[in-house]
């Protein structure tokens, strides 16, 4: 299913960051969604995932905030197209997908945002305030690029800490990680280096992975991986997956259709049940427990630890 929406507003809200508001052509209601959800937007040649800043209850509009990020080769990334959208333009996007929701049993929600990674956490913050949940925010960004700074300080008051100095962030992060009451869950979104650092320091402070939740908006750099064979349980076929080719691509080349969307391990659409063999998980979608269970694999990025991976296709 694809939603066909209309851009109603595009505003520069901080240096290099535009906020884009989309509604249905008739301004009718849109599908509700859990906080921290994202949509996958058709932006020219690419489809990019963007977090919704709405808290998700009865939305009349979907709002995303996009940092303009030219690609390394000087070409036009999806964010350029997003920045070009004008009011009245049509835009095709997926319905909201939830891969970063708040944990309902959490005693406290500790939100950590780096730069444009604030967008899903703004959604979390709005939700927490709406329901009176205990929430804390630590937000680090470049000077002048603090999207939603005013709104967050109004929303959270002293519960929000915002810094632009890395050294200051380090001190606050370390304090935060050793002072949260039992039952706190941590949510982090930002550049890969920041998230890796938060996860590493949290683990060193004794946080189990079940309390740590992350949303990567830049897919992790993946190596080409080892070749393996996909054995298709239902059609009794063998498909070889060379290094550098994803399981999804190999299946498509063999004429096997698998529903898919983001093709970068985020959206969860291309999940395939595993019958035998051990998957090498490289996605951001499956939970810790699902990874350990090893009975499904996100075929767009994940591979196999065993020479053969038998899938239910």
């Amino acid at each position: 299913m694809t939603l066909k929406l209309v851009v109603r507003r595009s505003t520069e809200i901080a240096e290099g960051i535009r906020e884009i508001v989309m509604t249905r052509p008739d301004d009718g209601p849109l599908p509700a969604h859990p906080p921290g959800s994202h949509v996958v937007v058709d932006c020219g040649p690419q489809r990019n995932a963007y977090s919704l800043t709405n808290c998700g209850i009865d939305p009349g509009a979907y709002t995303v905030a996009v940092l303009r990020r030219p690609t390394a080769d000087g070409g036009s990334g999806g964010s350029e197209q997003m920045h070009r959208f004008q009011p009245g333009d049509r835009v095709a996007l997926s319905p909201p997908r939830s891969a970063f929701p708040p944990v309902s049993t959490a005693r406290r929600h500790l939100l950590i945002a780096g730069g444009i990674g604030i967008t899903p956490l703004l959604s979390h913050a709005r939700n927490a305030v709406r329901w009176g949940a205990d929430v804390r925010l630590l937000y680090v960004h470049r000077p002048g690029a603090g999207a939603y700074a005013d709104e967050l300080s109004e929303l959270l008051g002293e519960r929000a800490q915002r810094v632009t100095e890395k050294s200051e962030f380090s001190v606050l992060l370390r304090q935060a990680l050793v002072s949260q009451p039992m039952g706190t869950h941590l949510y982090v979104c930002g550049p890969a280096a920041l998230m890796d650092r938060v996860l590493q320091e949290a683990a060193a402070a004794g946080w189990p992975p079940q309390r740590l939740h992350l949303e990567r908006f830049t897919p992790a750099e993946l190596d080409p991986g080892q070749p393996f064979t996909a054995s298709l349980g239902r059609s009794r076929r063998q498909v070889s997956v060379p290094a550098g080719t994803s399981l999804l691509e190999a299946l498509e080349n063999a004429g096997v259709e698998v529903p898919n969307m983001c093709r970068q391990g985020v959206c969860g659409e291309c999940r395939v049940p595993v019958l035998a063999g051990r998957p090498l998980h490289r996605d951001e979608f499956l939970s810790e427990d699902e990874r350990v269970a090893g009975d499904s694999v996100m075929c767009c990025v994940s591979r196999s630890e065993t020479e053969t991976l038998e899938v239910d296709l």
Partner: protein, 171 residues
């Protein structure tokens, strides 16, 4: 639904070893068999330089559970709970910890024996402490009915479900 989906806890009966990933620890043990094991954990954690709060008693009494509740209230994330003792006692402490927001991943359990069971009566709601294994029958301390100890365990109330063993027999 086979037995792999049972709610009956399957905790280790041999020392699972100390979980070294925590920053501060509570070690609780019940009964004579658990005492030396818990003492061993405490020594190892002290040697690792971790903060340890230790508690030992004969059973998971109301006082013991209240003591644990206070520990959880003051704990910060990074805290770990290690429990050793008879299953009915560790189950009770385990339930209290879960209520306080502690995750399974933060609790290490060692069961020294599983003879004693807390049985919750589906008819009158009383909880009976009984030496009855799964599938055996025991008398309810509340209503006197003969209760069949069913393989359904509440992790919230730390009890096995018991129901009238002869409910469908003509009186």
């Amino acid at each position: 639904m086979g037995l792999q989906h049972t709610s009956v806890p399957r905790w280790p009966t041999a020392d699972p070893g100390v979980d070294r990933t925590g920053r501060a620890y509570a070690v609780m043990s019940f009964g004579p068999d658990a005492a030396p094991l818990a003492a061993g954990w405490g020594r190892e954690l002290h040697a690792l330089g971790r903060t340890v709060w230790s508690w030992h008693g004969e059973a998971a009494t109301d006082e013991a559970v209240a003591e644990l509740r206070r520990q959880v209230e003051y704990a910060t994330v990074g805290w770990r709970l290690m429990l050793a003792g008879p299953q009915c006692d560790v189950l009770r402490a385990h339930a209290e910890a879960l209520r306080g927001g502690v995750l399974e991943a933060e609790i290490t359990v060692l069961v020294t024996d599983a003879v004693r069971t807390r049985v919750w009566c589906a008819h009158c709601g009383a909880t009976t402490l009984a030496d009855a294994a799964l599938g055996e029958v025991t008398g309810c301390s509340g209503c006197g009915r003969s209760l069949y100890v069913y393989h359904h365990v509440s992790r919230r109330t730390a009890t096995h479900l018991g129901f009238m063993a002869d409910a469908e027999e003509l009186q």
